[in-house]
Amino acid sequence: MTSLTAESTRATKPPLWTRLPVVHQLRQSIGLQRGMLVVGLIITGIFILTAIFAPLLAPYGFSQLRGDNGLFGAQRAPSGEHLLGTTVGGYDVLSRVIWGSQTAITVMIVAVLLSIFAGVALGLVSGYFGGWLDRVLVVVCDAVYAFPALLLAIVMGIVISGGRSDLIGGILAASISITVVFIPQYFRVIRAETVRIKAEAYVESARVLGASNARIMFRHVLRNATRTLPLIFTLNASEAVLTLAGLGFIGFGIEPSSAAEWGYDLNKSLSDVSSGIWWTSLFPGLAIVLVVLGITLVGESLNDLADPRLRSRRAPGKTAGVVAATSVVPGGTLAAGPGGIDGLEADLPAYDPHPIDDPFEAK
């Protein structure tokens, strides 16, 4: 049940920061899994920092066409003045790539915020109460699954701003379409967890006590059901970036004068590819790939680390290890009697912040 280890005892409960999500997993991981997580975290970190400090990092504005020496000029090769060259529209490629991260992160945040609350609430209610409401919601969600996200995004783009969007319109079009597709994902995960937890003895125990449905749902079910959320969160964030880029690429994106957007730049660089101008398409494309890769790596490694069966561990040394404490306290826990409790303290099971199923006693 509890693994008794020499170094982890109750008295030394690890400090708060090591128990935070991600930090905890980072410390827990080893080998290839750690490598994947670290690479993912570095890429994601660079992406977030770039987005925050875009105004400082970018040499020019995202819609800037002229510098001190007049117009930048179109399709200039990378040079000292324009490190990554200029686009066919005469924008600086480096600046557009850096500013583009800001747009991408906004879409991610808006999309995830919009979908997470609705999805979690619906999943909880649907899974807990069941019945006809549950069936209707499940059918609706299955129907939404059949819908391509991009098609929905186009429709949203047209509805919100007639196809050619400003900053807010473009972001909303992308986020709302993603929201519609994401709600069923959150819904499904939370509903499945709720249905599982509903059958757990501690929920039945609360029902026997006469606790209200609201109390059971929020105190006993919800907190136990949210464990997998960080994983969907990361995976969906990368999908948000892809949808935004896809929208821009097919021409329903954000106007270049409103915000920088990688998909739009890729679209405009289509004709350049065949004429040997590689810098206009390479860097926005690379930005998309790296961001999606980074976030996916984080998500996948979190997923693997959350599962004790997939998690790799350090191999123990030849004579390493302490014999596990059995459930039998020598002399019997009651043998000490009410007065002899102090004697019990020495035999306390160790604090184990993440117990896994006992690997060597599958009873």
Binding site: M1, T2, S3, L4, T5, A6, E7, S8, R10, E200, A201, Y202, E204, S205, A206, R207, V208, L209, G210, A211, S212, R215, R223, N224, R311, R313, A315, P316, G317, K318, T319, A320, G321, V322, V323, A324, A325, T326, S327, V328, V329, G332, T333, L334, P338, I341, L344, E345, P349, A350, Y351, D352, H354, P355, I356, P359, F360, E361, A362, K363
Partner: protein, 567 residues
């Protein structure tokens, strides 16, 4: 036995097994040395975490990837022709050894068989993996072995799927799969734990025949001392990864040497323990007690689970009548599927009553409404079977125990209820400081005591305990039962105590009711039901219960055989 010329079928030398866990390395087996002679039944006993299962799995090379094993496990074939060290051989060689030299019988027969293939196919799979056999030959062998393990009509049953067999028959099939290649050794990991006690007796008979007819040695892993007494020739007692005692079965039970073995044997409940206590309690009752309004009255109670579309529902409880008076403990005994848990759940309002009447604390449960029943709930406590899952893992023990107080408005929040919670924890003999721990930081027995504290928080007049000790080790079980009896005396609640184990019920109950297939077959005091059972099923149930004494158990086995032949 003429086996002395042959080498031991397995010899384990100084085995160490260490697991890599998140909390660092954990040693599960610590310097174990043991040997099994041909045709011998060696029982490895111990409680959870003692390393018995890991030791047994090492013999088959079945350790998970996170484990590292050191030492030697020398496995010899049945004719003694060749020997191999399981820890050193290649994976390919290991595959050859499994099935021919050593095979395994698993705990849960329903998961050990693949549901999408016929049992004949699954047996033939093992045969064909180890040699050139035609389909026809393999099938003939499968039919033969099914017949030998006591499956009636094996020619047609060979084409049955696992779900068409009962639990006991499935375990027979699993044993047939293990025997088909005639290995010298079978490792049986808790082969009867998942089975009812009457079925258990039959499987133990079969395993005994394995030894006698096939000459197979058996390593029997179990925590049930009765099973050990019934089957084992020699016993190894394991504790915290070490062998603490090794002795022939007769000697171990009559003269245990190690303290742990003594304590283990002392904790095993046996029938007849509670009779005197029940009689004492009955005499101490006040004169008017018998005519008071009972706490629970069931009158021709029927509970049906709805069936699938077009199929009739399943009747779990069929016309059961009983009463529980105030301060009385009714023990409800029955095998799986007898409806005992359903009755308990109906009394707590977790399952609906279909027909008849069930009155709990003056409230009719047939067609009850949650709103009117909620007030009654504060007078009912419930203790669940599995202490591991009956606590919300994200709340501390103090918060969990305070839940009933908060829900029924006796305290504003868990903090305000802390004083009362501390009293309750002390009542169940847990240190106050345990209130600040999370459920997974407590052992099984400690959790079950916290569960009792929660059940008693509102000082209910009725407590429903659904198999509260069946997930616990025997020594822990003994302590929890003792505590339960003490609390019952102190608080004076009436209780429904549900269990599949007659001996456990006997310790606590004033009266015992025996359920069989949804019907109440016998009811009475412990002395009546266990001393002189009238119903044939109760007699069989009682006779099937193995007692931890090889000599007595041999006598009981013969009695059971006569009973079974008569029934």
């Amino acid at each position: 036995m003429s086996a002395h010329s042959l080498p031991d079928v397995v010899r384990i030398e100084n085995l160490n097994v260490t697991f890599a866990t998140d909390g660092g390395a954990v040693k599960a087996v610590d310097g174990v040395t043991l040997r099994v002679a041909p045709g011998e039944v060696l029982a490895i006993v111990g409680e959870s975490g003692s390393g018995k299962t890991v030791t047994a799995k090492t013999i088959l090379g079945l350790l998970p990837e996170t484990a590292t094993a050191h030492g030697a496990v020398i496995l010899s074939s049945k004719d003694g022709a060749n020997s191999n060290d399981v820890l050193a051989v290649s994976k390919q060689k290991l595959r050859q050894l499994r099935g021919t030299d050593v095979s395994m019988v698993f705990q849960e027969p329903s998961t050990a068989l693949n549901p999408v293939y016929t049992v004949g196919w699954q047996i033939a799979e093992g045969i064909r993996a180890h040699g050139e056999f035609s389909r026809r030959e393999a099938r003939a062998k499968a039919i033969e072995i099914l017949g030998r393990v006591g499956i009636p009509d094996p020619e047609s049953r060979v084409d049955y799927y696992p779900h068409q067999f009962s639990g006991g028959q499935k375990q027979r099939v699993v044993i047939a799969m293990a025997l088909v290649l005639d290995p010298g050794l079978i490792v049986a990991d808790e082969p009867t734990t998942a089975l009812d006690v009457t079925v258990q007796a039959e499987i133990l008979d079969l395993l005994r025949r394995c030894r006698d007819e096939f000459g197979t040695a058996i390593v029997l892993i179990t925590h049930n001392m009765g099973v050990v007494a019934d089957l084992a020739d020699r016993v190894v007692v394991m504790y915290e990864g070490k062998v603490v005692e090794e002795a022939p079965a007769q000697a171990l039970f009559s003269n245990p040497q190690h303290d742990y073995t003594k304590r283990l044997l002392g904790s095993v409940p046996h029938v007849g323990q509670g009779t005197t206590r029940a009689t004492e309690r009955a005499l101490a009752r006040e004169p008017g007690w018998a005519v008071e309004t009972p706490v629970v009255v069931a009158d021709n109670l029927k509970i049906q689970y709805p069936g699938r579309l077009g199929k009739p529902g399943f009747t779990a409880v069929d016309g059961v009548s009983f009463i529980i008076r105030s301060g009385e403990v009714l023990g409800l005994v029955g095998e799986s599927g007898s409806g005992k848990t359903t009755i308990g759940r109906a009394m707590a309002g977790l399952t609906r009553v279909t027909d008849g009447s069930l009155t709990v604390l003056g409230h009719e449960m047939n067609g009850f409404k949650e709103r009117t029943f909620k007030k009654v709930r504060s007078d009912i406590g419930f203790v669940f079977q599995d202490p591991a899952s009956s606590f919300n893992p994200l709340l501390t023990i103090a918060e969990c125990v305070a839940e009933p107080l908060v829900v029924h408005g006796r305290a504003a929040n868990a903090g305000a209820a802390r004083k009362r919670v501390n009293e309750l924890l002390e009542a169940v003999q847990l240190p106050r400081a345990y209130g600040d721990r999370y459920p997974h930081e407590l052992s099984g027995g400690q959790r079950q005591r916290a569960s009792l504290a929660r059940g008693l928080a509102l000082e209910p007049s009725l407590l429903i305990a659904d198999e509260p000790t069946s997930a616990l080790d025997v020594s822990v079980q003994a302590k929890v039962l003792e505590l339960f009896a003490e609390l019952q005396k102190e608080f004076g609640f009436a209780a429904l105590f549900i269990s599949h184990d007659l001996a456990v019920v006997d310790i606590l109950a004033d009266r015992i009711a025996v359920l069989y297939k949804g019907k109440l077959v016998e009811e009475g005091t412990g002395a009546e039901v266990l001393g002189a059972p009238k119903d044939a099923y109760t007699q069989r149930l009682l006779a099937s219960l193995p007692v931890p004494d090889p000599a007595v158990q041999a006598l009981r086995r013969d009695q059971l055989r006569i009973l079974r032949a008569a029934g």
